[in-house]
Structures are given as structure tokens and as C-alpha cells.
């Protein structure tokens, strides 16, 4: 197994719904999707975001888009206009997610450019 920065394997977009942030995580290559599905468990993502969120995490799969969608509850200090955060709309949670380091099997295909991971 090797450690890989999630940013190498996935891209992402995030947005807000009240005090909840959604983060869509998309495999850069279809063959990476099973790795994401395996590594990005609800528990693992909850632990990663523990310093930033007060609520739970929900996970949804979109295998048709090689993507996972996460809802991070209690992420925006009340959300919308109430929030005092610079990022009250949760726009940068996308790359906060991609800071995760995940374990992947040793395989030269597991990097962004297809080189060795």
C-alpha cells in the first residue's frame, strides 16, 4: 500500500445548503473510482473534518459519474447570512476534502498523471 493525496486521484466541487456543506468528489480517471469508494468512508471523512464541523456526515454514491457526494452537517457556523466565516458558502470545502491522504494498493496507474504513486 502507498499513501496518496486525494487531490492526485480526484477533483471536487462544494456548495452550501443552510448550515450544511455538500462536497462532490469525482475520480480523475474511472479506474480510480473503486479506490475512492473504498477509502472515503463516512467515518474517515467525519474524522478528517472533525475540527471543522459540529454535525454528522452523510455519503451518497453516483457510480454513473464516478463520484461520491458528501453532506457535512454543522459546517458553516449557522450558514448563509448568519455565519461569520470568510467561506460562509462552503466553496473551499472541496479542496479541504482533497487534503486527505488515503491508502491505495501499489499500482503505477494510481496517480493523477498515470505515473508511479
Amino acid at each position: 500500500m502507498s499513501k496518496v493525496l486525494l487531490y492526485e486521484l480526484a477533483h471536487a466541487r462544494s456548495g452550501d445548503k443552510g448550515n450544511t456543506v455538500n462536497v462532490g468528489v469525482i475520480a480523475r480517471r474511472p479506474e480510480h473510482f473503486p479506490l475512492l469508494r473504498e477509502a472515503l468512508t463516512t467515518e474517515r471523512v467525519r474524522a478528517h473534518f472533525a475540527p471543522l464541523i459540529t454535525g454528522g456526515v452523510e455519503r451518497f454514491e453516483l457510480p454513473n459519474l464516478n463520484a461520491l457526494n458528501f453532506l457535512l452537517h454543522g459546517a458553516l457556523d449557522g450558514g448563509g447570512t448568519v455565519s461569520l466565516m470568510t467561506d460562509a458558502q462552503g466553496k473551499t470545502f472541496s479542496t479541504a476534502m482533497l487534503r486527505m491522504v488515503i491508502d491505495v494498493p501499489d499500482d503505477p496507474g494510481n496517480s493523477r498523471e498515470g505515473g508511479s504513486a
Binding site: 451518497f60 453532506l71 447570512t81 466565516m85
Partner: protein, 466 residues
């Protein structure tokens, strides 16, 4: 006359262009969409969750206001092209004063010499501010969807209340020949699929096709966010963001469609770019709930269809629910944000020391806040603790302190405590030239549900010829 009336056979394809992803989006975008190539419809989304309350306040000050003012001069600019080319416009620019918006457009049309050659459809009835008390009294608790509180907790502070309405009234206005349709709180997605329902003759229970229209609407509603704007994937190589093309949905009667943009414009349309937008502000992907249908985003198929073209097909839908979402806004206190910039060396240590000084002074003044939040822009403002320790040798940070309170007074006093830090706090500080921070009234969002039959009988469609 408009090209799609009930007397003509259903269209075989339709190009629906997006002109604004929010109120304040690129002003040139709708003009480019109309002039740079063929489109059949132009949709413009103006309403974010809190926009209605801003508009309600403007209307309270001046009964002639309360709509997206920019939309009226924009119509003056593009209506001659629209009428000449048979382009029809659908926009939720009416806010809380649809008739005033309609009248403004009619005036622009007459000034442009289009008297008798165009008409405006006005959709009203989504605004339930005046009915709120009666609805609550009749047993509609309008509980907050997020935390379950009943509306009675805040009803004396409510500033606006609008039901999210679907496509039916827009379709009705189009069927009556309206060149421009203005609505209040229509859903963003309906602005895109109402033209499809009208032109293709889709039935209101054709769930799969409506769901496909919703997906098209979700892609279109954020403007250039599906053509390379705010796109993380290979962002460094996206060409000509300065001249970015806004999206065009090329729809087919079977519900499949292609996402594209005008030739020669900047940006990029690929499956990766479109996928990012599909996931934007998404909840449970299998249940994307709208007033007209529940769309299942797990059934979407994306395929490349040539340069800057992505085909979307396979979308499935489920029957709509009996409820409509209501967007209520209410007054929720005051806030202010103060900033100062600290330079090398040790900018983080200086900013943190300044924050301690500031908090001690606020404390000594006896000021009570619901929250005081400190962020250091340049280090932890976006990713918080996930950013790790501050990097060695960081050249500068911006200290950003924000406060919130129920009362205006403590927030007002806070705004006078920022500038004094320059001469009475840690050194190497600048960036105070903007003056005292502004006290902002907080207007919070209250999402709720209401029975559909409390709203739909009140909707009204009026079409007026210029």
C-alpha cells in the same frame, strides 16, 4: 409572432441559453448569448435565498422597487435582437414586485420601437408574506426544515415569504405567446425546462422527461460554472476565461440534451467540467426534489459529443410530492467584520496578539456577543485547522475578526475598536484605509414546506402586449 404557439407542431430541437447565474453575474453574458449565434430561449436566474428579503426591503422603502433592477435596462439592450430573431426570455427577475418589473420591460420595449411587437408574461402569487399569519393560524406550522422550530418562534421578525413555484405558469405564459416571462420565486431549474415543456408538448406527468429538464436546469442555472468557471479540474489550462462562454442547452424532444456554448467563446465543456456542476449544491442524488418532479441524478449518462459538447441522457424521474418549499427570511440580529494586515516577520504571532488585545478590550467594555470569530487570511481562513501550522517565513496575514449579536449597539461599538489597534497594538500593521467596518443587519433564511394546494390556486398569469 413567436415561433412556438399551440397552433404549430412541436419543435424538434431547442437551444436554451443561460444569461445570468445570479444577480450580479457578468453583465455582458446575456448580450453575447443573444448576438453570437442561434438560440431560441434565454433564461436568467436572479434569485438567491436571501435576495427576496433585500427586494422586500427595497419595496417597503419604495413601492415601485422590489425586483432585479438590472434586468430592465438589459431588456432594453437586447429586446430588438430578441424580437428580430424570435428569441424568448424567461427570468425570475420579478422578485417581490413582478408587475413593476413587467411595466419596466414594456416601457423599454416601446422606447425601442417594439410597440405591438412583443409581450410580457407576468407570474404572481408566489409571494405569501401577506397570507403568512392566516396560514399559521389555519394550522400550517411552516416548521424550519433544518431544525424543526415552528415559524411562530420568529413570525414577528419575518421580512419575506415566497413559495418556490414550478413550470406550469411559465408554460401557460409561453402558450399565450409571451416574448418575455418574468416570475417571482420560480425555481431556478424551471426557467430552463418550462420552455422544453412548452415547445415539445411534454405532459406534466412525463416524469422522465421533466427530470431530464431539471438536470438541464441544474446545469444552466449557475451560468459559466458548467463551462469552465470555478472549475478545479485542470483549471490552469482552461482557455480564455476572460471571454468565457455561458452555457447553451441543446434539447431534444426525448429529454436528452447537449451542453455546449457559442463557437469562439472561452472556457471548456467536457464531461469532467459538467460533472463538477452536477454535484454543486447537491443533496441526496437519487431524490433531487423540485415542484414538478423528483429527478434521480444517479441515472444521468454523460458522453463526449465533440469539442465543447457533452451529451446528457438516460435521466429518470419520479412523481412530484404534494408539498412546495417556502423561502422565508427573517431578521436575525447584526454582524460586522474588521480586518487589519500584519507584515513580516512573524505576522501570525502579531495578528494573534492583536486579536487577544481586541478581545480583552471588548470584554472590558462589557460588550456581549453571540459569537466572536477570528480568522487569519493567508493561513487558516478557508481550511481552518486542516491547514496545519503556519508555514515558516510567511510574509503577511490579514487579521479578520467578525462579531454577531442580537442588538446593534455592541456590534456598532466593535467597529470602533479596529482602527485603534494600529497605534495601540502589535507593530507592522496596515490595511485600515477602508475606514470603519460596516454594521450589517442579518436576514436569515427559513426553509419550510407547505401544501401545494395552498399556493397553486393563487398563481396568476397575465400577458400584456407592449
Amino acid at each position: 409572432m413567436s415561433r412556438a404557439t399551440s397552433l404549430q407542431p412541436p419543435a424538434t430541437s431547442l437551444r436554451i441559453a443561460s444569461g445570468q447565474g445570479f444577480w450580479g453575474d457578468l453583465l455582458s453574458a446575456p448580450v453575447e448569448q443573444v448576438r453570437r449565434g442561434r438560440i431560441d430561449y434565454l433564461m436568467l436566474d436572479y434569485l438567491a435565498e436571501v435576495t427576496m428579503s433585500i427586494l422586500q426591503k427595497q419595496k417597503a422603502r419604495n413601492p415601485a422597487e422590489g425586483y432585479a433592477r438590472d434586468f430592465v435596462p438589459l431588456m432594453g439592450e437586447i429586446l430588438p435582437d430578441c424580437v428580430a430573431k424570435g428569441i424568448r426570455v424567461v427570468a425570475n427577475a420579478g422578485g417581490v414586485n413582478v408587475p413593476a418589473c413587467r411595466d419596466g420591460i414594456l416601457e423599454q420595449a416601446r422606447t425601442a420601437g417594439l410597440e405591438g411587437r412583443m409581450s410580457v408574461g407576468a407570474i404572481t402569487g408566489d409571494d405569501i408574506l401577506g397570507r403568512l399569519g392566516a396560514l399559521v393560524e389555519a394550522g400550517h406550522s411552516l416548521r424550519n426544515m433544518d431544525d424543526g422550530r415552528p415559524l411562530s418562534d420568529v413570525i414577528d421578525r419575518v421580512q419575506s415569504a415566497n413559495a418556490y413555484i414550478g413550470a406550469a405558469p411559465i408554460v401557460a405564459a409561453l402558450a399565450r405567446g409571451a416574448t418575455v416571462v418574468v416570475t417571482g420565486r420560480s425555481t431556478d431549474t424551471a426557467l430552463t425546462y418550462a420552455p422544453m415543456m412548452h415547445a415539445f408538448g411534454w405532459a406534466p406527468d412525463d416524469w422522465d422527461r421533466l427530470a431530464a429538464g431539471v438536470v438541464a436546469g441544474h446545469i444552466n442555472e449557475c451560468g459559466a460554472q458548467c463551462t469552465g468557471g470555478n472549475c478545479l479540474l485542470d483549471w490552469e489550462t482552461i482557455p480564455d476565461l476572460a471571454g468565457i462562454g455561458f452555457p447553451i442547452i441543446e434539447a431534444s424532444p426525448d429529454g436528452s440534451f447537449v451542453v455546449t456554448k457559442h463557437e469562439g467563446t472561452g472556457g471548456r465543456v467536457t464531461t469532467g467540467v459538467v460533472t463538477e456542476q452536477l454535484l454543486y449544491e447537491l443533496g441526496d442524488p437519487a431524490h433531487y426534489i423540485t415542484p414538478d418532479v423528483i429527478a434521480d441524478f444517479t441515472t444521468i449518462r454523460l458522453t463526449a459529443d465533440g469539442p465543447d459538447r457533452v451529451r446528457v441522457s438516460g435521466v429518470r424521474g419520479r412523481p412530484r410530492t404534494d408539498m412546495l418549499k417556502v423561502s422565508i427570511s427573517y431578521s436575525a440580529g447584526f454582524k460586522a467584520v474588521g480586518t487589519l494586515v500584519y507584515g513580516w516577520p512573524d505576522p501570525v504571532a502579531k495578528a494573534q496578539a492583536a486579536d487577544r488585545v481586541l478581545r480583552a478590550r471588548l470584554d472590558r467594555l462589557g460588550l456581549r456577543f453571540d459569537e466572536i470569530r477570528t480568522e487569519l487570511v493567508g493561513w487558516n481562513a478557508t481550511h481552518g485547522a486542516l491547514a496545519g501550522p503556519p508555514p515558516e517565513g510567511l510574509p503577511e496575514v490579514e487579521l479578520r475578526v467578525a462579531v454577531r449579536a442580537d442588538e446593534r449597539a455592541p456590534v456598532e461599538r466593535f467597529t470602533r475598536e479596529i482602527a485603534p489597534l494600529v497605534l495601540t497594538g502589535p507593530p507592522t500593521v496596515t490595511g485600515f484605509a477602508g475606514g470603519r467596518p460596516r454594521v450589517q443587519e442579518i436576514v436569515a433564511f427559513w426553509p419550510a414546506l407547505i401544501d401545494r394546494d395552498q399556493i397553486e390556486p393563487h398563481l396568476n398569469v397575465e400577458v400584456t402586449v407592449a
